[in-house]
Amino acid sequence: MGPIKLKRTYLKSLLLTASLALVNHACTGQLEAPSTATEMPSSAPYIDTGDSIVPVVATTTSKIASSEEILPSMAALVGLKLPSEGTYSAFNNAYRPLLSEDGAADSVNPPMMMSVLNLSGYVCNDLISQEKALASADRQFFIDWDFKKGTATLSPNVISASVHKLARSAWSRNETPDENKLISDAALSITGTKVNDTIGAAIMICTSVLASLDANKR
């Protein structure tokens, strides 16, 4: 099944990714600085607000994954041995031109974020295909998921465990309880008796994690 058919899932992933950007992510506690450059000076302890100098906490330079880094990184983060030819084709023909060449923070724009989301969908689809072929105990992320049945077989604990494994791998940290609940609830809202519904739920949590800022910031 191609991810492009799961429009409802993608819309949910997009909303979820945006939500995750506001919860325990880089946007909170953000400090403004007057520079127009995307690079931080090696030491920038103060902000000049005119009348007074305000000491700020030292920050680090951040970028996002560049066009040449993002696909191998997404694949590595989810343990995908090799993206499918469909994924490579979509990446080269549709998404790569819209992705940032140097990963500069100010290169982020809506078409780029949509490309990141869509690309994550392709990678997640490949991951699910890879895991479906394995016995449950041999899978890395979707343990105890029955991809031959509808969503009724999915328990909150099974979904929550998958969210945790994906988040820890892709974000290099454990997710917060709020983050896990946000993503798990979204996946639980996908109900249906068809196999595609279960796959849809899996793609939902995978793309929500993989397309997020924490997975793609550098």
């Binding site: 127009t36 040449e68 880094e69 590595a76 031109p97 060449e101 791998s169 940290r173 454990n174 910031k217």
Partner: protein, 394 residues
């Protein structure tokens, strides 16, 4: 708008505590290689162990010896230098392949501009014949197949010497003499981008742009002698000599002094011609100023020796003149400007930012250390251990 990002405080489960060293290891690996991996990846766990024992160099070596460092980081740097648009979104080419090969095999980085070799993949793994220069191959099919078939350049590149040129697809049939070989400068990608049409001035401009990190306007100098400025440069545009004296000469005096090095080279269609005679492009528009310099052979002179440029480029050659691309490449590669430029490029790529003007001393220090081995993996390690790149505690 500057986006300042605070690293989010992680929520830690007691049974899966993530140490600072683990996080640092992951950040180091990702920044050095360009590949993001799970924080539980065995490579990260190993790096964490070294960091806990304060063995920073050993930890970094895990990253600089990983194939991702060559297939992504080095590949990215090289691709951006390999074409006129300076975009990384191009197919693999012989410029980038040779860059990767030099880095992987620990060769002296100066051979990028002086060597008579190039890198290609193992012939058994691609359909197209190995010659990147043969007509019909357009120089890119062979390397494009490396990517379309998802081969790792790190795993599959082999070194071929000498460089193949000419109108034939038979391997080894027509090759460059050592005096005519200047590493990637005389490979397909660079020649096809900069020695096509024109007057070969772009070869000089982009050599300095890519390997000295200076744009033409940066190193212009109107005080230099203009006895090598070509006949196609108007000395009296609009009847006035002052524009030439103040503007045109500032670039041409130096650039035209160098361009004779490539007098025998021209890129036409899918192949380059090297003949022991000056290419016709050097006589283009020769009637504009008939008293200008007439290129008669492949000799060149280095006039980029004014006070500012002498310090900027840090020339080391005993002689400020020579013949042919190899002598030109030698002059560039042995300059301080070359090692400083590579240091800047690797710093920008690994540290995620360009060094500021106030960090010039840091760049020069890195370049000096790099010159002890001229190995690109060593350069990455020098930069990764520099506090300007990764401040303490990060």
């Amino acid at each position: 708008m500057l986006v300042a990002v605070l690293l989010a405080a992680p929520a830690v489960r007691a049974e899966e505590a993530l140490t600072n060293e683990r996080r640092q290891a992951r950040a180091l690996f990702t920044n050095i290689t360009g590949l993001a991996v799970s924080i539980d990846d065995p490579r990260i766990v190993k790096m964490e162990s070294f960091l806990k024992d304060d063995k920073v160099h050993e930890a970094i070596k895990i990253a600089t010896s990983d194939k991702a460092f060559f297939d992504i980081r080095i590949n990215n740097i090289a691709k951006g230098m390999s074409n006129r648009d300076e975009t990384v979104q191009v197919k693999l080419n012989d410029f980038a392949a040779t860059f990767i090969g030099v880095a992987r095999d620990g060769l002296d980085a100066r051979t990028l501009l002086t060597g008579n070799f190039f890198y290609r993949t193992n012939v058994d793994q691609t359909d197209t014949h190995v010659s990147p220069w043969g007509p019909g191959s357009a120089g890119s099919t062979h390397y494009a197949q490396v990517e379309s078939r998802h081969y790792s350049p790190f795993e599959t590149l082999v070194k071929v010497s000498p460089i193949i040129v000419g109108q034939t697809v038979v391997e080894g049939a027509t090759t460059l003499a050592d005096k005519d070989a200047a590493g990637v400068l005389t490979n397909y990608a660079f020649m096809s981008n900069h020695a096509n049409d024109g007057t070969n001035r772009r070869v000089i401009e982009y050599t300095f742009r890519e390997f000295m990190c200076v744009e033409m306007t940066d190193w212009s100098d109107a005080t230099r002698p203009d006895d090598w400025v070509g006949r196609d440069v108007d000395r009296f545009a609009g009847g006035d000599n002052s524009h030439y004296q103040s503007s045109c000469k500032s670039c041409h005096a130096q650039m035209d002094g160098f361009r004779g090095a490539f007098a025998f080279f021209s890129f036409q269609k899918a192949f380059a011609t090297t003949e022991p005679m000056v290419q016709g492009k050097y006589a283009r528009n020769a009637t504009i100023f008939t008293n200008g310099y007439k290129t008669a052979d492949d000799s060149f002179v280095n006039y980029a020796t004014g006070k500012v440029n002498a310090d900027r480029f840090g020339w080391r050659s005993d002689s400020m003149k020579g013949n042919g691309p190899n002598a030109f490449g030698n002059m560039i590669a042995n300059s301080k400007g070359f090692s400083r430029c590579l240091s800047r490029r690797f710093f920008t790529s690994i540290c995620k930012r360009k060094p500021s003007t106030s960090e010039e001393a840091i760049v020069r220090s890195i370049a000096t250390k790099f010159e002890s081995t001229y190995k690109l993996t060593d350069l990455a390690e020098i930069i990764a251990t520099n506090a300007a790149c990764f401040p303490a505690g990060e």
